[in-house]
């Protein structure tokens, strides 16, 4: 069944059961997303996709709220813009967004000031280079949860990673911070595939960025093969 709702003053049509995000995208209305990924369960946690729905006390996340007939939705109201801009500014004050071009673009669009929060405590950590397949640079992690989800019941059922800490100090971690090879990780690479900010990166890409040549990396691999053969 098709329903009709109002989005930014325009009437749009959507199939029943679609989320506001789907309805918007099908009608060419742009709603930004960060944590949302088509392959993972939507958790509505980044709140960048919030919209104003008439009659609702608080803003509603478009990624999970279902479109309903006669709904009146504002995707760019003053409240929405303030929330999106402030969330982006807080992100910039918390983490390294240098490898998140989509978010940088969003910041420009919403006029977000990267220096809005002076003296803010940033989330910084050392690069974890503990396995041959990928590195973990949690200074770039924006806690979208996708890696934890694909490692668990959204895809791989491996349950190698979960969370450390709580609140602002939350970080993705393994059991008692064990190195990846000591966990149940099967090196499937799904987590690397869904990471939006370069916090998880194939080892080869990382080494190339560190200035190693393809030849040098190849030698490293040969060395490993030789050791294995012994």
């Amino acid at each position: 069944m098709t329903i009709t709702l109002s989005m930014d003053g325009k009437e749009i049509r959507a199939d029943e059961g679609k989320t506001l995000l789907e309805a918007a995208r099908e009608s060419g209305v742009d709603i930004p997303t960060i944590c949302f990924h088509e392959a993972t369960t939507a958790n509505a946690l980044c709140r960048i996709c919030v919209v104003e729905v008439e009659g609702q006390r608080v803003l509603q996340p478009a990624c999970i709220v279902k479109a309903a007939g006669n709904m009146k939705v504002q995707t760019r109201s003053e409240k929405v813009i303030r929330a999106r801009r402030t969330i982006l500014e807080m992100l910039a004050s918390s983490m390294d967004l240098s490898e998140a071009p989509e978010i940088q673009q969003m910041m420009k669009e919403y006029g977000a000031d990267t220096g809005r929060f002076p003296d803010a405590q940033r989330r910084e950590s050392e690069v974890k280079d503990d396995n041959p397949m990928f590195i973990r640079d949690y200074s770039k992690c924006l806690l979208c949860w996708r890696c934890v989800q694909v490692c668990a019941d959204d895809a791989q059922y491996t349950f190698a990673i979960n969370f450390d800490g709580r609140g602002y100090e939350t970080q993705i971690g393994t059991f008692f911070d064990k190195a990846i090879p000591e966990t149940s990780c099967v090196m499937c690479g799904q987590c690397v595939g869904v990471c939006p900010t370069g916090a998880l990166k194939p080892k080869r890409e990382y080494l190339l960025e560190q200035g190693l040549s393809a030849g040098e990396i190849s030698v490293m691999n040969t060395g490993r093969k030789q050791r294995k053969a012994k």
């Binding site: 509505a44 969330i87 992100l91 969370f163």
Partner: protein, 634 residues
């Protein structure tokens, strides 16, 4: 790590193994009692026994602040540093204790095997400065070892319905008497019971004020093979301690309320989820449940009806967020206390994804009364729109901090007068209303009637019944700093606005409290506050800026740069340049002419005269704030 004897673990956690993941919190508690903390080997063994992934167990240990994955003293002394205790120099007490044992906070005393820690609200606000000492499964709320474990509280009021048995000892089942309301309910049809609660106009007392009857009706109408009744005893809102007293002094009232709820909705299993900071209530509840089972009030085919119901206790482990209903379910299910997205609501998809009624302790305590008296009789108490009585947790600068039960409709002035007025003969500066997620009232609000409708129009949330009083000498910025710290500590970290917003809010409030506000901090704080309010996922984030935004309206001058930290609001500094911290403190001048004092910061003595309700009603409207909203608890 070689000294860890894993053979001790099995007997301690055996009974939780069949529960699987849901047994995780009880198993970790049991393991921690055996080992004092949770070493890797123990965590791994628990994970394997319960068949929970290792990383998930680690995630749970990391989430709850009362689980330790690093060694900690066998004896832990926790000192509350939240606002009410802050007023009674809890910082000094913490320092004194550390000095006494020659320790830094969190360190272990090698000889005494003891750790001293600062703690978020311990729910002992009327006992400020509050301390909780735990050693294995033993606990005490007094520092001296020879003291009794039990807090002794002032319980008073104009009516004693819910607090009838509350004083200073636990009412046994013989004192409480037969579960009259429950037996009356058993003679009624379940839908009649629900209708009676609906007709009573009872709304939730945990903070959100949702109509209890509608909640019950939703769960009653949901079809499922299993339904649950959950008692939310995770009271953690700074300033709130009513549920502690209700459960400790009169546990049967809550249990009876749960029995009636279960009968009404058709649930066969109940849970009481009690916060980890109330370990001393657990044995009291266990005993009461045993008494109820022995009396035939819990169990199979109760009173020869076809209704069976029993209750299990679950103990939290230091996480305010678990008072949020869906986070509480997650916690019972053995996971990190992340709130779920709603809808679906608990009445259809609650605990273990089954229809669930979750009510606050005080809400449940009203239930036996409503059923035994009848809703019409119950409605004779209180006002038309706010029937019944309400418990207020009065703390801070009053002569007699304590728990006060009053009919809805009395004024704030009358309540404060009952508590002896402002302590040390000082004048009133402000009342933090509703809790950490509340708003500030000033002397202008003294004649506001304490009802849902009057408070709403005055822009004050009733919340969980917190009335925290600050006298004229108090620096509201210090209060806000503590609230900021509390929310940053308690944010679960799931949604971005709250996860980062509580941290940024704390940083800005710290600067402001130190007199080091940066240019634009006012706007920055507002943007963070409104973003959390508008865009957060759950009630915690949505109210984490509530008190701050309210203070910004009442005392805007406090948040501007260059304000001194003692006579805030009174001094009108024209300075816009950042002044170094020390010189600012010195500049506090007591010589400010009275007439310069802004209207906002004017303080009035609480007089014991009759309220001038009519005159004040107009004023209340004028000070109406946009910041009315519900709190985390429901």
């Amino acid at each position: 790590m070689s000294e860890i004897d894993l053979t001790l673990l099995k007997p301690a956690i055996e009974k939780y193994i069949p529960l699987g993941c849901s047994g995780l919190l009880p198993a970790l508690h049991a393991a921690q009692i055996v080992y004092g903390w949770l070493p890797q080997e123990v965590a791994a063994e628990v994970a394997q026994s319960l068949r929970v992934p290792l990383a998930d167990v680690h995630g749970v240990i990391e989430f709850y602040s009362m689980f330790y994955n690093k060694p900690v003293g066998k004896k832990i002394i926790r000192v509350c540093t939240d606002p009410a205790c802050g007023l009674r120099d809890s910082d000094g007490l913490l320092k004194k204790l550390c000095k006494q044992y020659d320790l830094e906070p969190h360190q272990i005393h090698p000889g005494l095997d003891l750790t001293v820690e600062p703690s978020p609200c311990l729910g002992l606000c009327e006992q400020a400065p509050a301390v909780l000492t735990t050693e294995g499964d033993q606990s005490s709320v007094h520092l001296g070892a020879d003291q009794v474990f039990r807090p002794v509280s002032v319980v008073d009021g104009t009516i004693r319905l819910l607090t009838e048995n509350c004083g200073n000892e636990t009412a046994s089942i013989s004192q409480y008497g037969r579960y009259q309301g429950f037996f009356k309910a058993l003679q009624m049809r379940p839908d009649e019971v629900v209708a009676e609660i609906k007709a009573s106009g009872l709304v939730g007392r945990g903070g959100a004020a949702f109509p209890t009857g509608i909640k019950w009706e939703g769960a009653a109408q949901s079809q499922a093979d299993q339904k649950y009744v959950v008692c939310n005893a995770d009271e953690s809102e700074p300033g709130t301690f009513k549920d502690r007293i209700l459960l400790l002094d009169d546990p049967h009232r809550t249990i009876e309320g749960m029995c009636i709820a279960a009968y009404g909705i058709g649930a066969s299993k109940g849970y009481i989820y009690i916060r980890g900071e109330y370990p001393y209530i657990v044995p009291v509840l266990e005993k009461a449940l045993d008494e109820a089972r022995n009396a035939g009030y819990l169990g199979k085919d109760i009173n020869n009806s076809k209704f069976s119901f029993d209750i299990e206790i679950r103990v939290g482990a230091g996480a305010y967020i678990c008072g949020e209903e869906t986070a509480l379910f997650e916690s019972i299910e053995g996971r990190r206390g992340f709130p779920r997205v709603k809808p679906p609501f608990p009445t259809t998809n609650g605990l273990f994804d089954k229809p669930t009624v979750i009510n606050n302790v005080e809400t449940l305590c009203n239930v036996p009364l409503i059923i035994s008296k009848g809703s019409a009789e119950y409605r004779r108490i209180g006002t038309e729109k706010s029937p019944g009585s309400k418990l207020f947790c009065v703390s801070g600068d009053v002569v007699k901090p304590g728990l006060y039960e009053i009919e809805f409709g009395l004024t704030l002035r009358e309540l404060l007068t009952m508590a002896g007025g402002v302590a040390r003969k000082k004048s009133l500066k402000a009342v933090l209303f509703g809790g950490a997620a509340g708003a500030f009232a000033t002397s202008e609000n003294l004649d506001v009637r304490l009802t849902f409708e009057d408070l709403r129009s005055a822009g004050l949330p009733l919340g969980s019944g917190v009335v925290m009083v600050f006298d004229e000498t108090r620096d509201i910025r210090d209060v806000l700093k503590r609230l900021g710290k509390f929310f940053a500590h308690e944010s679960c970290g799931k949604c971005y606005p709250c996860q980062m917003g509580t941290q940024r809010q704390m940083e800005i409030l710290d600067r402001i409290a130190e007199g080091n506000a940066l240019p634009d901090d006012f706007v920055r704080l507002q943007d963070v506050g409104w973003t959390m309010t508008d865009a957060s996922l759950c009630g915690l984030g949505q109210t984490a800026a509530s008190a701050v935004l309210s203070a910004m309206k009442v005392w805007p001058g406090l948040f501007k740069e260059g304000q001194s930290s003692q006579v805030e609001g009174l001094v009108k500094t024209s300075k816009t340049i950042k002044t170094p911290k020390k010189s600012v403190v010195k500049k506090t001048t007591p010589k400010v002419p009275k007439e310069k004092a802004s209207r906002m910061s004017r303080v009035l003595k609480i007089s014991k005269t009759k309220p001038k309700a009519v005159k004040k009603a107009a004023k209340a409207k004028a000070t109406r704030k946009k910041t009315t909203r519900t709190t985390t608890k429901q």
